[in-house]
Amino acid sequence: MALDYQPKIVGFLCNWCSYAGADMAGTSRLTYPPNIRIIRVPCSGRVDATLVTKCFQQGADAVLVAGCHPGECHYSEGNYHARRRFTVLRELLSFLGIEKDRLRLEWVSAAEGKKFSQLVSEFSAEIAHLGPRKDNGKAAGGSL
């Protein structure tokens, strides 16, 4: 894979933990690749399957959903719902021709700036290694 291939990753970060975690990464001057486009959402449980699927339809190479650790959800149980939802969605997308690895659900707390920076670096490298989507963007209607 050519080195100049830059994957486009959409990140849905929960307002209470992961977005703050990303903020923490910034204030701690930790670097992470600019491949991720961050969208702040109230909760990982708010991330509808349609939002993620729509990202893939529009040509995203990967989607990251990050929320509070299990047991720490601001709304008590949103992240548990997210866990089931994305487990199933990943299987469906894989069956439709989008590798499972392109959709990740991770727990990042407000204190885990370092974890966030590592996560995005790793994920970005992994997707770059995976290369562009195998459906040739056939399902893609636009560009991100």
Binding site: A49, R83, F86, L92, K138, A139, A140
Partner: protein
């Protein structure tokens, strides 16, 4: 069997226990059944049941909320009805269930008499509905489970990601966005479907591959853990998109991950409505 259905229908209509009996009669080709609504005792004489009664009628109950109705169901339809009752779309006390013992439905197209059983029926494990108020037909031994017959399921599982993507692009390309799959599905009852929403406009009005892809993906996902595999969506598709493959894939996943089979038990929520705090699903760990 026909007589048993008619007799009960007449009795229910005469006593005023129900105002309508939803069942089947013979279609305009004189061969295949079609849905039929009997409101009077006279009309109830038109009711019939045979191996062409492929339609899943339980969706009609949603429009009849508040009106006592009797309905003829096959074992698969009965499961769909349980899903609707669990999801509070249908009130159990408003429905009189005439459960039909089913020997499988014959694969046929309009105007032609078929001979083979439909694929879903060849691997079906239930001849007798799990829920009913009156059972018609002779109960029989339940068969042992078999692997799905559609060879494409296994073929797809062995394909590379790129091949699978190409397969589905080719299938979805034919989609007309006629929404027939949604309209017949007992699980699709949203007052406003995401595909019709204007704000946010998830899908838009284009009838092109990206829209078709998004629609078919989310349609299948919304039925995860809720689809009973009646295959109505696949039957009505005017361009033969194998939608059943998607549903069955999710059915398998849900069975493996959550040990769940939709519509089997009353008062059990669908797996994506609930959660267990300490479960390990191989994601976010």
């Amino acid at each position: 069997m026909n007589q048993a259905i008619r007799d009960k229908a007449k009795e229910l209509l005469a006593s005023g226990a129900v105002s309508c009996v939803i069942g089947y009669d013979v279609g305009s080709d004189g061969i295949n059944a079609r849905p039929f609504f009997a409101y009077t005792e006279e009309e109830a004489d038109g009711l019939a049941f045979d191996q062409t009664c492929t339609h899943n009628l339980v969706k009609y109950l949603i429009d009849r909320a508040g009106k006592a109705t009797a309905i003829v169901v096959k074992p698969c339809d009965a499961r769909a009805l349980t899903v609707l009752i669990n999801e509070k779309q249908v009130k159990r006390e408003e429905v009189f269930i005439i459960g039909a013992v089913c020997h499988g439905i014959i694969e046929s197209t309009w105007g032609q008499k078929g001979s083979d059983l439909q694929g879903r029926c060849q691997t079906c494990t239930q001849h007798t509905p799990l829920v009913y108020d009156l059972l018609v037909g002779e109960p029989m031994a339940e068969p042992t489970p078999k692997a799905p017959l559609d060879h494409r399921a296994a073929t797809l599982a062995n394909m590379s990601v790129a091949e699978r993507a190409a397969f589905w692009a080719e299938q979805f390309q034919r989609c007309l966005r006629c929404n027939a799959c949604r309209q017949v599905c007992p699980g699709c009852y949203c007052a406003e479907c995401f595909v019709d929403q204007l704000d946010p406009e998830w899908v838009g009005i284009r009838i092109d591959l990206p829209e078709k892809w998004l629609w078919n993906t989310i349609r299948a996902f919304h039925l995860a853990g809720r689809c009973v595999g009646c295959d109505e969506c696949q039957r009505v598709c005017p361009v033969n998109i194998p939608l059943g493959l998607l549903n069955h894939k999710l059915e398998e996943e849900v069975a493996t991950l959550f040990d769940f089979r939709p519509g089997v038990k009353a008062d059990v929520p669908a797996p994506l409505e609930t959660f267990k705090k300490d479960e390990k699903l191989g994601i976010g760990e």
